[in-house]
């Protein structure tokens, strides 16, 4: 009987408090700093990272529904991504969401490059992370020196697409000039398998033509 009364009181308190909507949003989107999460997660870092990603879905849903005060929510979303990465640096979903949600948002490009660069160190076999980080650094941050460093890291990895070679050369050209770009491509050609050399040769020829004409 006491339990039933308690449950009725609790139920009515929830039903009669529409003003608590804001508190509920805070509860769903708030979180501890990454270092504290890592300490408290102990041997369950993987599950804690998964829960951070689930919380991120909730934050993104709130962003879509809420038209005002989005800056704060985007900040929380970035914090969740950072926490998930600190807990489990190999988790591919964290980076896919970084690319899909944060990278193309004006307040998130810098965080995205930072996250993807760190992810590239952890997932040392994955060419996609330095490739995407390099692309975002060029397109959103206009930092071609960093874009070149990341893209040249991507092309050293297995199964990296030939497109990465062209982009790396382009970014080096815009930050350091045509001469440096040709030098880089010649260096790259020597260390690449034969099937990649045609694309590199074509790029070198284009740059040399440009140097002679310009």
């Amino acid at each position: 009987m006491t339990l039933l009364t308690g449950l009725c009181l609790y139920g009515s308190s929830i039903a009669c408090k529409p003003a608590q909507q804001a508190d509920q949003t805070t509860l769903l989107t708030g979180g501890m700093p990454p270092a504290a999460q890592k300490m408290l997660a102990g041997p369950f870092a993987g599950s804690a990272a998964d829960l951070d990603i689930l919380a991120l879905f909730s934050i993104y849903d709130t962003i879509r529904q809420q038209q005002t005060n989005q800056t704060d929510l985007w900040k929380k979303l970035n914090e969740r991504l950072l926490a998930a990465q600190t807990l489990d640096p190999w988790f591919a979903d964290t980076y896919r969401l970084t690319i899909g949600l944060t990278a193309f948002h004006e307040q998130g490009a810098s965080t995205a490059v930072e996250l993807l660069s760190r992810g590239a160190k952890a997932r040392s076999w994955d060419w996609e992370l330095p490739f995407m980080a390099g692309y975002i650094a060029h397109d959103f941050l206009h930092d071609d020196a960093r874009a070149y460093a990341l893209m040249s890291e991507a092309i050293k990895r297995p199964d990296a697409p030939p497109l990465a070679v062209g982009l790396a050369s382009k970014f080096l050209q815009s930050s350091e000039g045509t001469e440096a770009s040709i030098h880089f491509l010649n260096y790259l050609k020597a260390s690449m398998p034969a099937q990649y050399r045609d694309i590199i040769d074509a790029r070198i020829k284009r740059l040399e033509k440009k140097r002679q004409s310009g």
Partner: protein, 270 residues
């Protein structure tokens, strides 16, 4: 004679545990954890099998810890405070009793985690069938079983801590309180140590306090099996040397703690 006594106590312990509602609840919870792993993994985009393995590891570890802390402590506590076992068992020395109880509890724990490993393997099999290509590389049907073995080793360490605590503590509440506190510390210390010994923190902390924390850390087992579980969940190669040290450390800790429990239990007043 001693072996016979150990066998009698172990068989009695196993029968007692199998008949207890708490153990049946833990057996039922294995299915709940498997369903939870399946349900949660469906919300993710790419590495769904990794998410399944994360939650299965969580389930295995919680079940192992719950078994040791609640069933192990209650069983030992009732024997020591109320003399429950002495009503049903023949007269024997304390060594045979404690070793028999240890064997029975270990068998029941193995049974619980074996069931969890079977359900986990079925969950992973389903996951691998529906996973995106290249997003479950390195993960096999054996991954869940290997994880189960690691969970068994960590749970056996907690059981050893429970037996050690029960050998000197008085009353079920005291036994449960100390065992829970030790388990919590053993689980959290590796990550706390890792945070404290980071270069930014160590520059701010006095040297004596770092040495003090290191000393406490050496008193507890290395429960960093979570890092091993994370490698298994991602299908990464396990570092052989670190794994060897981890296994040797865990086994050494279990043997030392059970030996200390036997020595203390011999000398205590009952």
């Amino acid at each position: 004679m001693i072996l016979n006594n150990i066998y009698i106590v172990a068989a009695f312990t196993l029968r007692e545990i199998l008949a207890s509602p708490a153990f049946r609840a833990l057996l039922a919870a294995t299915a709940l954890f498997a369903i939870m792993a399946l349900a949660v993994s469906n919300l993710f985009l790419l590495e769904t099998v990794k998410v399944q393995l994360d939650f299965l590891w969580l389930g295995m570890s919680l079940l192992g810890a719950g078994f040791s802390l609640f069933i192990g402590t209650t069983l030992m506590g009732h024997d020591i405070t109320r003399g429950t076992a002495s009503l049903f068992l023949p007269h024997m020395d304390r060594h045979s009793y404690l070793l028999g109880r240890t064997a029975g509890l270990t068998l029941a724990l193995t049974l619980l985690l074996a069931l969890m490993a079977v359900l986990s393997t079925a969950t992973v099999a389903w996951g691998l069938e529906h996973a995106l290509p290249d997003r479950a590389a390195g993960i096999s049907l054996w991954s869940a079983t290997i994880m189960g073995l690691f969970a068994l080793l960590q749970s056996a360490t907690i059981l050893a801590m429970v037996l050690f605590t029960c050998s000197w503590a008085t009353g079920v509440v005291e036994m449960m309180l100390f065992s829970s506190a030790f388990t919590l510390m053993a689980y959290l210390l590796p990550s706390v140590m890792s945070a404290i010994t980071s270069s930014e923190v160590i520059a701010q902390v006095p040297a004596w306090s770092v040495a003090f924390i290191h000393t406490i850390d050496y008193l507890f087992p290395d429960m960093s099996g979570g890092q091993v579980a994370l490698c298994i969940a991602h299908g990464l190669t396990l570092p052989t040397a670190e794994l060897g040290w981890y296994l040797a450390g865990q086994c050494g800790y279990i043997i030392t703690l059970v030996a200390a429990a036997l020595l203390l239990f011999d000398r205590r007043d009952l």
